[in-house]
């Protein structure tokens, strides 16, 4: 039933978009302010290829998938978190990529390039672009020495001065780290629940955007909280805020962002060139130095950074690499369970 409806919907959508598309436009779907819409980058790419980059944005991964579902043929490049690739594949929202056309692909860290999340039946659906950590960041004004343990967030000294993102999966995975569990295979969910319930009194509020986090640090309302590594870099580089990343001994959650080409894309050639440019050391060094970026998946691009840069020195250190637990796909049912648990915790009905 759904399948048939979807087929009709897709057919109608194709008819509609076919007549409105303009040649040589390159439609990119990504978070706002996340590399692809940097003016220097779109200008450079346009000068290089003649293709005009048109950015569209999403505010949650679910919204990104909805936009792909309901706009077949509109987008040429989409940025997908590797953990969501499986869902995009199941719904046939993305197409295989001819990696031979992407020159920088050969320099991508092999473990990431060959990830089973991105490669199915010998075909590549996702090109690793950047990776980073969901870990803790501190307000430097609140600490003389940065904390080494994630438990610092539970410390009563920080009552009402801690923030975490209002995201069920992130919250549960934080609880898993704090209770010494594997984030992708949580055995003792009750321990996670108890741990998060104990954390809640310390929470000032939940953040949902970088801007929230940065404003709270700027007005000195928080001491520490979970944050994304690229965002912490941007807070420091671009906004000169007293923010520092800490990678606790209990570990940190790693995520991998990739580029994919949606099913029905009209400018596949442009998409391939764009992905290649996004991976280039040229783009990456400028992005990291002037704006602040997560770690490029391209080893050659990272090597082009100054030796003392955070993304090369800290994120590249073996001691850090050992502590990272990369996110694996989560089933819908699991996600719904996590959400339910998280909502109950927040409301206190559990």
């Amino acid at each position: 039933m759904m399948k048939k409806t979807t087929a009709i919907l897709v057919g109608l959508g194709l008819l509609l978009t076919a007549t409105t598309a303009m040649a040589k436009d390159l439609h990119v779907l990504n978070w706002k302010g996340y590399g692809t819409d940097e003016p220097f980058a779109t200008k450079a790419f346009e000068a290089m290829t003649g293709d005009k980059v048109v950015n569209d944005f999403f505010n949650s991964e679910q919204e990104m998938l909805t936009k792909l579902r309901t706009n077949p043929g509109l987008y040429d490049v989409v940025m997908i978190n590797a953990a969501f690739m499986q869902q995009a594949l199941e719904e046939k929202l993305v197409q295989p990529i001819d990696i031979k056309t992407i020159e920088n692909y050969k320099d991508i860290d092999a473990a990431k390039a060959t990830s089973t999340m991105l490669n199915v039946d010998g075909k590549t659906y996702g090109v690793p672009w950047t990776w980073g950590l969901t870990t803790i960041a501190i307000n430097e004004k609140a600490f003389d020495t940065p904390p080494t343990s994630i438990k610092e967030m539970w410390n009563p000294d920080h009552k009402g001065r801690v923030t975490i993102r209002d995201d069920a999966v992130e919250a549960i995975q934080l609880g898993a780290l704090a209770t010494g569990q594997n984030i992708n295979d949580i055995k003792d969910i009750d321990a996670v629940k108890t741990s998060l319930a104990a954390l809640l009194p310390n929470i000032r509020t939940f953040w949902s955007s970088e801007n929230d986090w940065n404003q709270m640090v700027a007005s000195n309302q928080i001491d520490l909280g979970t944050y994304w590594s690229g965002s912490a870099g941007r807070a420091k580089t671009k906004f000169k805020l007293p923010v520092a990343l800490a990678i606790p001994k209990e570990g940190a959650v790693g995520w991998l962002d990739t580029f994919a080409i949606p099913q029905g894309a009209k400018n596949v050639e442009g998409a391939e060139r764009f992905i290649d440019y996004m991976l280039s050391p040229d783009f990456y060094t400028k992005w990291d130095e002037t704006v602040g970026a997560p770690v490029s998946a391209n080893a050659r691009a990272v090597a082009a950074l100054p030796a003392d840069s955070f993304n090369r020195k800290v994120m590249g250190a073996p001691a850090v690499a050992d502590r990272i637990q990369f996110q694996e796909p989560i089933t819908d049912a699991q996600r719904e369970d996590y959400l339910k648990l998280w909502q109950s915790l927040k409301v206190g009905t559990n």
């Binding site: 919907l9 109608l12 909805t66 309901t70 706009n71 955007s209």
Partner: protein
């Protein structure tokens, strides 16, 4: 109550002053922060016009602002006309199913916009209406209509049907009665309905968010997307310009156009 004491009007004016202070407090801050150097609303205040310069160079934001204005004005015009007509229909005539029609005004307001937006996206996509400014207009008018109908109907309840009956018995046609008798008396309600429609459309971000396409977007959509990564005071700057502009426009209008409906 009105002339009984000279004290009461003074108290009344003071009270209006307080209400206005409450209503304008965040707007004043919004405007002040558009001249503050810190992108995070940090104090001490450091004066700058940087955000206005940045705004002038931000073609996307300016285009979105004009799209918003265009859609809000069209929405206001369409929703006010259709909504007033529907209110008159509901007010004048008795028929079976009237209560149902009145109840049907509730869903567009009560269903969270997120659900309406998703529903519209799927339906417009499935029927070939598609996304874009035309789809946004279609959605905005539908969301604004209930507001117009509720406000105009409330005004109609203060209006006596006898007046229409009298006009009709004197030989006026239905059109003449509407134009010459009914509309002038309910004009404040119609204008208020229009103001509501404008506000609903101009501030609507959820439904627009689903129906906008790259390049065909509105101001609230841009703002909503911007808060994820760096909500710059540019947004404050454009909001300040809009408020100052509409305030001047309104003050001019109120000088030349009596809509308060003194009778």
């Amino acid at each position: 109550m009105i002339r009984a004491s000279a004290f009461l009007p003074g108290l009344g004016r003071f009270y209006i002053g307080l209400v206005l202070a409450f209503l304008y407090l965040p707007l004043v801050i919004m405007a002040a922060m558009s001249f503050n150097a810190s992108p995070f609303y940090q104090l001490p205040f450091e004066s700058t016009t940087h955000w206005y310069v940045a705004l002038a160079n931000d073609d996307g934001l300016i285009a979105a602002t004009f799209n918003s204005l265009k859609i809000a004005i069209l929405t206001t015009a369409i929703a006010t006309v259709l909504g007033t007509a529907a209110s008159l229909g509901l007010f004048r005539y008795e028929f079976t199913g009237k209560r149902l029609l009145q109840a049907l005004i509730v869903p567009p307001i009560a269903i969270p916009w997120l659900i309406s937006g998703t529903a519209m996206l799927i339906f417009f996509f499935g029927t070939g209406i598609g996304r874009g400014l035309h789809a946004i207009l279609l959605g905005h008018v539908a969301l604004a209509l209930p507001y117009v109908i509720i406000v105009v109907s409330a005004r109609l309840q203060t209006f006596s049907r006898d007046l229409e009956d009298a006009a009709a018995s004197l030989g006026a046609s239905a059109w003449q009665t509407t134009w010459k008798v009914t509309l002038p008396l309910i004009a404040p309600g119609v204008i208020a309905g229009g103001l509501f429609a404008f506000a609903v459309s101009f501030d609507q971000f959820v439904v627009s968010y689903f129906l906008a396409t790259p390049g065909q977007t509105t101001l609230p959509v841009e703002i909503y997307a911007a808060i994820r990564k760096g909500f710059t005071p540019e947004i404050n700057a454009v909001s300040t310009i809009i408020i100052v502009f509409s305030m001047s426009l309104m003050l001019v209008v109120s000088r030349f156009f009596r809509f308060g409906g003194d009778h």
